[in-house]
Symmetry: C2
Subunit: 343 residues, 2 copies
């Protein structure tokens, strides 16, 4: 089966390829009758111009790449959705690249995206969430970003000066802790996350700051880390509950950890929020499916994706954009937190 080209259309419509192209792209005036004739042939053969050939010459592919650590973490599908809608509205299609947070996989994808000549790249997770990131890993990204418009979402690279769109995690974390303090809690623990990754670091810092501001005691043994999974949240909470003293409230690095914490607490016979208040982070769909529904901090996840693509689109068109765009998080109070009650 032969692939049909503009030449075939041109021949059948008795015009030149230039005219076909003009009809296709509306780039120069074409007589009405001619246009009709050409369109008829195009329709007859269901002709669609080859985007590869077109891109080769126009230098634009209408493709963007999105690298993220784990699409099964419900935070990311929401970001993707925002990105995807904005992308489609502007004529882009998205390569979704699941890196597993593995920097080799990231490099692999970076290279693939480059050779596929995507118009832009959205980078989430992995190396951009590491508190220290090797110079090679930084360089690789910086160099690519000089060739292809790129935006870092919810992350950064030391001294790279790359464009970023992010939720203000410190502010969000402060809100969460403030909320607990206002409820009268004094013995508050922090759970979760990988200790050398920035989401954890920012939140721990904000946590300590708030505690200090309110002259509350910070117990280092109540700041526990592991990773970002449900399992991890459960294990850390269990460890917390095994101590001979226990906090009356826990702030978790994300919803996954919070869900695990809730499960551990319930298995331990505690009622939530009666005997233990728990706050999550991200406002993923999990937080409303949980019983009790989770008090958490929303990051405007959808907006994060949408605005990133919007900005990327501007970059692609050579417009200057702000280096940093910060979205304000917001506390969402649900059922997993309640005023402190003496036991």
């Amino acid at each position: 089966m032969k692939t049909i080209t503009v030449y075939d259309i041109a021949k059948e419509a008795n015009v030149s390829v230039a005219t076909v192209s003009r009809v296709l792209n509306d780039t120069a005036p074409v007589k009405h009758s001619t246009r009709e004739k050409v369109n008829a042939v195009i329709k007859k053969y269901q002709f669609q111009p080859n985007a590869l050939a077109r891109s080769l010459i126009s230098k634009a592919t209408g493709m963007i790449g999105m690298i993220l650590p784990d699409i099964t973490n419900p935070f990311f599908p929401e970001v993707f959705k925002g990105a995807e809608n904005e992308a489609r509205a502007n004529g882009y299609t998205i390569f979704l690249c699941n890196s597993g947070g593995d920097y080799r996989r990231e490099s692999d994808y970076l290279s693939v995206l480059k050779e596929k000549r995507v118009d832009g790249i959205l980078f989430l997770g992995g190396r951009i969430n590491l508190s220290r990131c090797s110079p090679e890993m930084v360089n690789e990204v910086v160099e690519l970003s000089q060739q292809i418009p790129m935006i870092l979402i919810n992350g950064s690279l030391p001294k790279s000066g790359l464009h970023r769109v992010m939720a203000d995690e410190a502010a969000g974390a402060e809100m969460a802790v403030q909320h607990l303090i206002e409820l009268g809690h004094q013995e508050i623990a922090f759970i979760g996350g990988v200790d050398y990754m920035t989401p954890t670091i920012h939140k721990v810092k904000a946590f300590k700051k708030k505690m200090l501001e309110n002259r509350l005691r910070i117990r280092e043994e109540w700041i526990l880390h592991q990773d970002f999974s449900v399992k991890s949240g459960k294990e850390l909470m269990t460890r917390l509950l095994q101590g001979h003293e226990r906090p009356s409230a826990v702030f978790c690095v994300n919803d996954f950890n919070a869900v695990g914490a809730v499960k551990a607490a319930i298995e331990h016979g505690l009622t939530i929020p009666g005997e233990m208040s728990i706050v999550g982070y991200d406002d993923t769909p999990l937080s409303t499916t949980l019983i009790p529904e989770l008090t958490t901090v929303t990051q405007q996840t959808y907006e994060l994706g949408r605005q990133s693509v919007q900005l990327l689109h501007q970059m692609i068109h050579g417009e200057k954009i702000k280096k940093i765009t910060a979205l304000q998080p917001q506390l969402v109070v649900r059922q997993s937190t309640a005023p402190y009650r003496k036991r």
Copy 2:
């Protein structure tokens, strides 16, 4: 900044472009010393061949498109992950196309994928889950599938003869109902899903079949439909509980609905599984975050994605593959079901 091409490499290495291409693709013998020389230049400029130009001539893009209804439904990220891993292992990158189940959006994407000349298409949800689908909607897909290898995942199109990979939903549903019956339940309800979509239809049919086989009464007023969301599950369960009689067990069309049902039951003061057994479907991550953990049916979601890409890959290489590949679902008993107790 000039883009560098094989010509630049060739010139600098004192060879012809043909030789550069041979080094790049290892498609013909090249003298060792020449190869070294060329590779050195390639490395020096960090040259990466333009995939567009390459694809234009090779007719292969290394891109596949995946159309699915809703990436925020936790069932799909898992499918995607399976697909993505297998894809990457075979050198493909995936365009993720979120259709929202909207057939116009599907058509739009179908057309974009065609003009981008993807090597293959994975189609999930939307029109392929409709019990009746207009001839135009069928045709559009069938015609495209004659030009581009395509696999329908968990769905079908009437008389289209397209390749399909699917979980055997009828078998899975029978297992779920069988499980409840074996626990001694006799008054069982079915909840959820859009009534004209195949996931619902298959499950209701299996439900009725099992009930009949066991001479149990089927009450039409206990077969309720709405959509696939948590909210919907909650509303339907609430409606069920307002009747003056109520079932002792409920089989839900998916985990979302089941979560909603559990929430409604608990709000209604029932204990689960003590007073009400609930079974979900899909074994999404939700099922283990819920308290109690949900008894559900696993569809081997990851495998669904992985095997689909594997088969698609074979199709792309012109191999003949089975028209239908069915994965066996499996019952996963957790905490939301228990033996019937008289009240």
